[in-house]
Amino acid sequence: MTFKTMLLGVIAGTVIVASGHAMADTADKRIAFSNNYAGNSWRQAMLESWEKVAGAAAKNGTVAAADAFTTSENQATEQAAQIQNMILQGYDAIVIDAASPTAINGAIREACDAGIIVVSFDGIVTEPCAWRIAVDFKQMGRDQIKYLEKRYPDGGNLLEIRGLAGVFVDDEISAGIHEGVEGTKFKIVGSVHGDWAQDVAQKAVAGILPSLPEIAGVVTQGGDGYGAAQAFAAANRPTPTIIMGNRQDELKWWSEQNAKNGYETTSLSIAPGVSTLAFWVAQQILDGADVAKDLTVPILRVDQGDLEKMLKSTPEGSVANVEYSLDDAKNLIKSTK
């Protein structure tokens, strides 16, 4: 009796595997996602996108498994241990948002030596054997100034809100901003660290505002625009053009201001759905596609024209998002060859 059921199970399993196999060559491949941090809305949306897209791919048999794991402490050592576990568990590919660009290179090397495909994104790793889906953070900085130049041809004073001090991303965006400002009539008169959080940005901006002259624009790094707007309002200062970072509360505030007094700005950030792009890239590599080691993530930008549409599609309190499809990944791979 039990033998019979077991036999039946084995047959059923074989059939399922075989039918999955017909759909893609990666049907028996298992992909793990090693994530270093989950403590903000962007990361939460990123994990949700992964679940939605990669989870569906696992269910319909494109891949055998697509499991997400998050470390609790945002520590490189912890993530290295996590990757070593994944190697032991026999995953075929590891998609990773890394706590450090260099500190987990050893573990990445071990994974590569074990024949595992490693695709890093957002928080990328420098280990040459891994793939990198990087964000051009400098471009994000330059784009902000480019927009402000169009708005204020005569220049003006800028306030810069930076991210978390000592983090690579913060240095890159800021470098892009300063590069962009060079040779323009803009002048950065103040710079504070907002740690990519509305409440911290609000506090920092409120503290420096009394010492600042009139501000034309605020350049930001995402997750800090709404806090800055509140600080300006609390100080009874005219609202400058604040570059937003695609957070729903920022977009909503912008839309309200626009309805009230025609306020215009722009908003740019990386869509949390970039995790799904990394997933498909990993799947394509497993499928035998020839993929360049360095890819660039498209920046998701919201302008006045598509503000209302974007606002509608963004859940309350979340981040504007797009999920990427297999075709998006294929196009990206083709365009960077």
Partner: protein, 335 residues
Amino acid sequence: MTMTAKNNAVPTPKQGVKYLLGALSRKAWIWAYLAAGATYVAAILAGSGGGGGGIWSLLYVAFTFASFAVMVGIGQMFVVTLGPGNVDLSIPATMTLAGTVALKFMASDGALVVPGLLIAIGVGLACGLFNFGLILLMRIPPIIATLSSSFLFQSLAIWSNRGLRIKPPQSLADFATGGTVGIPNAALVALLVSVLAWVILEKAIVGRWILATGQNKRAARLGGVPVNAVHFGVYVGCAVLAGLTGFMLASFSGGANLNMGTEYMLMSIAVVVIGGSSIAGGNSNVPGIWAAALFMFLLVSMLNSYGLGAGVRLILTGLIIVSVVALASKKRGRV
């Protein structure tokens, strides 16, 4: 020398500038006030033309943001008073959990402000009870217990709302960001909490119990102090204050962030130490918390205003804090 001169020593006058200065210099918290004042003046001097309103608006802003640090700082102060090893590291997570749950419950509906507030306090209460359970019933050292429970609270906060920022009801947001007769409402709430804390610490028998426990737990127990009850009240009180602060901060900044409490971990301990309370416990004061909270805010504002880079700013922040603490403790030792 002083011993022999004692017989015909002139009785110290009970009035006058000299007496006042003497009395003040005996207070550990005076240094924090001096530091805050000096920083304020320096920040004002950095002003490059924000208009005449700059002087007052900086003070207003400083009081607004200091009040959050004051509220968690008072909770932490009571915990630190309990003696070496006592510290609550779960304050940020408790703030986040209380803010998240309360704002999700209110769902921006102005009619639910009071139940929302009660929920935030309830969450704080539950967190405090949990901490106390770990520390006293399971005998886990407070640092380990509160650190591990903070993971639990943080995960609960993530699970409860997946990091979505729900807006506070408009009336509540207006209250939190507004002011009454030129004083920020947030500061008024913090002031109320401070007065209560001062009465408890300085005037009530409970305060004596807390101090006695911190100075020598064994002696306090033998002396009839209900040591366990004191621990219970202090840890639960600290968590309730953290919950209340989380509620206020979330209402103030337009929603609860999953990482909104992060900076209050170190801040809550820093304001206790800079404020002149003994980190070894058994000797605390409330006025110093205010000075330290103002000082911490003004310090960052001042360094920002002078346009210093993050590296220099962090180094200077560290150095200045160390000097203030060193100066204060040296003075205290001499008297």
